[in-house]
Assembly symmetry: C2
Homo-oligomer: 582 residues x 2
């Protein structure tokens, strides 16, 4: 490949686009890799198309290596398939819907679980046919409420989606593990810094799933990592270690105190510390009971649920929703309190909940033998020294208290801190949600049908391009990792005729050695502009053919390290080739 | 590449699909290359995806070779661009339209003239920037009224579309010529038999254009070819050679005859031959005058037009529409005749038209000195011996009479016959329709703006796959040309363990030599089924490892010729490689 900038369809920009906030958006537009066609809809220009193809190639190679077979399904899909699984409705406004000339309903595929399931059902029927893994690299469409950050969150975007089909759970686990390993190889090759976090699955259905998050301050996803290990998890998936139970013998008896106007933890602690009880109280000594109501899928009625957490922590509503999924959850309103007069608002304690058969779940830290200040189920009253396992026994634990920087890592090594990332990959053990919807069975060796089980696995190909730029840039431009760079080497002829001729000659030789070459052969463009463009475009290795040419000297530059070296003209092809293959 | 049929996602079918009428549809489905997802919407399975990629690769290589630069534009396009050019409306029901969550109107791109024009306008501004040719290979969407024949006419399909931008007509001609040459190379490499025909351009706008038609009895397009040359043209574009003018001296005088009840040519000729006029009359001796009305774009009123053709030919309405484009044309209704009493229906002659200033155009065969029987502008009367150039002078010629098998070829070599074809490519000199709509100017060397001129060029990539099958199959299955075949060689192990092991070994060696190999390593499948599948799938070269193996003999088969040869096992890899590289 030899691209000449004199004819390349490329105009770099000196100014950031007005609508760009994150570095990848700014740099991909300024470097002429992409152009906006509509909100969240982008055109890929020649250099951008090359990067997109390079990422796709890496993905394809690693998918092929695990025996996945490439297919290509349509984007235009009939409603009926997505209605069968409920996703026609579940996807809400995020689905692009349209009608054909006959009035039939269609959608633009956001992911293709339904069609792949039907495809396999159509071709395969025996246990001998399985396992099979199919994938495609294709445009996907999602009508995001807030398309943002260029190609980082677009409405039409490029995705690799694959689907595994197995006849049993062990097979699904093997397909999942193969994908997990392939994803690690892919993201390693793409030069990304990423973490693999446990995830909850959301609208896809199913259970075990992990997300691959590219670490980036501009990411939309929050996760926690450990200071002392490679532990990382979605906040929803952090498991708080439960301390060991403590002996209850010898602990003071529980006593009710009159604590006027102490409906908040803060006012309670202040009151207690001012009451001369001979000890100091902190918010962590209190047990805060949050009342919510839940409703199982398909159920008509809501049920009360009490959630007890140490008073120094809030309940994290996202963690609460994830913990109770697939049930709905809502906070109580005034009518709910009115309907349950035993709930003394601001002073709720375990006693009234347990006595009134309200399900009561507590934070994992509330182990037997821990002693708490908590509500006495009577306005302006609290109980002190209420001991778990002695004075009350909850119905179980629920891990929904907020996760804070400095919390111990669940793996026992180091403490947690929050970070942000971009979801670049997602692997799901879907199970039988879709094969149940379409009754996909394989006939077993015994002649009996077995319901097939599925995994689905996605990589945001266009998003990966942006994520690479988020992680790999400086104030001058992009620094492409070699595997995805639009070219291996950028030969810049800075002067008039002679240097440009020499640059073209060197470029031709490098190309003959199998390198992908971009050559700046523009006439009437100043060296400064050419250097600025070279740094913006971010090709890993540059060869500068400038004034030194008359002395037989050219310069070799490394975009990532900034290192510059003057070398003899006679050595430049060997040295540039070596740099590209290092 | 080494594909094993034991794990390949492929199930061949013995029966034609119920909805399939044409060979390519039947065979691509039976061979497991494609599966229908919705009317006119298809999924490409692994072998089909490989063929699609091979065709795309050929297209890409030849486009790159003419300096075209690959980009990738979105399918989801905002209405505003297509409204600016009028295509939002002009495309009618064929456009897939949709709204996003905010109610904004979008369409799915049927072709991308608008977006490419805007892209170039956004980047380029000087005459030095031009010419530029951009292309993409991408899914296109058209809501065809009658999707048919599998991927031959789909509603979501794969297309290469390219666009040239030049600052003058000579540049456009050069870009057009480069595309024409590239298309010839592409379709030659794809092994297609095709013709290049002049075309009228339809909804794209613009003037000079040619179509590439793959010759196929199942094609939707009719064209004519010559028995004596490689002349081929769309019926609309056939130019009838005008005979030389004849001397008028000595020809009999025109005389009006009473010809009762002769409003049709047939009744007129029968009457004349029965009238004892001393000579024989044929339909070709009569001049039939068809009255139509036309309306120029934007005009309010219709105008009358008389069209005179030899009475043995009908006016071809498609040719008439093409000849009058962009004006509208319609037949006269009773009210029109009532409004123009000088029109004696069934007996209209040149005289009344000329006297009443109705524009009168005649077939190119109506040259000076030809003598005609034609209407006398009075019911039940005709005039004989009315001589063109003596008794009437038309306003010009119009070439809209039907073209018939046996007509002389316009190039003077051989005669014409009609044939059918599939439009696989189309090249247009668009001119300035789109650059006018978006005011795309390049600043000239004199500092003055020049309006840029455009060409657009399409290849139906998925349609090309089907066209290849239409032309290259037999009653047993597909016969892939080597360049697009999903594999170079198909190694079939027909027996039990030993033959399959040997087939895998041979396949591995062929792969090591750089060949793309499909190996039938299925156990428990009969040799007959494997042979039938091999013929259906149509890989050019097959190696059969069967019973002869015990004697060190395998068989080499050529799918196209049907030739079979027994060869020594030791020679098979060399011989198969030679066959694949022949």
């Amino acid at each position: 490949m030899l691209l000449r900038m004199s004819t390349l369809f490329l105009r770099t920009l000196r100014e950031d686009p007005a609508d760009a906030e994150v570095p990848s958006h700014k740099l991909l537009v300024r470097g002429g890799f992409v152009r906006r066609a509509a909100p969240g809809v982008y055109s890929w220009l020649p250099l951008g198309k090359l990067v997109l193809e390079n990422v796709s190639r890496v993905v394809r190679e690693e998918m092929d290596a695990i025996g996945a077979q490439e297919v290509l399904l349509p984007a235009l899909l009939p409603k009926e398939y997505y209605e069968a699984t409920g996703r026609w409705t579940e996807y809400g406004d995020t689905l692009f819907r349209l009608k054909d000339r006959k009035g039939a309903d269609y959608l633009l595929g956001p992911t293709h679980e339904e069609l792949f399931t039907l495809l396999v059902k159509g071709e395969y029927s025996s246990y001998k046919d399985f396992p099979v893994v199919l994938y495609q690299i294709q445009e996907k469409f999602r009508d995001e409420a807030r398309p943002r950050a260029g190609v980082l969150r677009g409405r039409e975007f490029h995705m690799k989606d694959s689907y595994s089909f197995d006849i049993d759970d062990e097979g699904l686990q093997a397909s999942y593990d193969a994908h997990r390993a392939a994803y690690i190889r892919i993201f390693d090759r793409l030069g990304l810094e990423y973490v693999v976090v446990s995830a909850t699955s959301g609208a896809m259905g199913g259970s075990a799933s992990e997300e691959f998050l590219a670490v980036a301050a501009t990411g939309e996803d929050t996760f926690v990592r450990s200071t002392g290990s490679d532990y990382a998890a979605n906040v929803e998936a952090v498991a708080t270690p439960a301390p060991s139970a403590l002996p209850v013998e010898g602990l003071p008896e529980a006593r009710v105190h009159h604590t006027p106007d102490t409906a908040t933890i803060r006012t309670l602690v202040d009151f207690l510390n001012a009451a001369g009880l001979g000890r100091d109280f902190s918010e962590a000594d209190t047990l805060k009971n949050l009342l919510v109501k839940t409703r199982e899928p398909g159920a008509k009625d809501w049920e009360l649920l009490g959630v007890g957490v140490p008073g120094d922590r809030e309940v994290d509503l996202k963690r609460l929703e994830a913990a109770l999924e697939p049930a709905e959850v809502a906070l109580l309103d005034e009518a709910d309190f009115a309907a349950h007069p035993f709930l003394a608002k601001g002073y709720i304690g375990p006693r009234a909940l347990i006595d009134n058969k309200v399900r009561y779940l507590v934070d994992p830290r509330v182990v037997t033998g821990t002693s708490w200040v908590t509500g006495a189920d009577e306005t302006d009253h609290h109980v002190l020294d209420l001991v778990a396992g002695r004075d009350f026994t909850p119905d179980g634990t629920i891990d929904v208290a907020e996760v804070r920087d400095g919390d111990p890592s669940p793996d026992g090594r180091g403490t947690l801190y929050t970070a942000r990332g971009i979801e670049i990959g997602h692997i799901f053990q879907l199970g039988r949600k879709y094969t149940d919807a379409f009754a996909v069975d394989a006939l077993g060796p015994d002649g009996k049908p077995t319901r097939v089980t599925m995994g689905s696995y996605g990589i945001g190909v266009s998003r990966a391009v942006a994520s690479i730029v988020e992680q790999s840039h400086d104030d001058k431009g992009i620094v492409w990792p070699r595997e995805v760079a639009p070219a291996d080497v950028h030969v810049v002829g800075t002067g008039k005729g002679e240097q440009i001729e020499e640059a073209l000659r060197i470029a031709g030789e490098l190309r003959a050695r199998g390198l992908r070459v971009l050559v700046d052969d523009r006439k009437g463009v100043s060296p400064g502009v050419k250097f600025t463009d070279a740094e913006l475009l971010g090709i890993p290795t540059a060869v500068i053919v400038g004034r030194g040419l008359k002395d037989g000297i050219v310069e070799l530059r490394d975009r990532a390290t900034g290192e510059r070296e003057e070398i003899a003209l006679a050595d430049v092809v060997d040295r540039a080739e070596a740099a590209c293959k290092a």
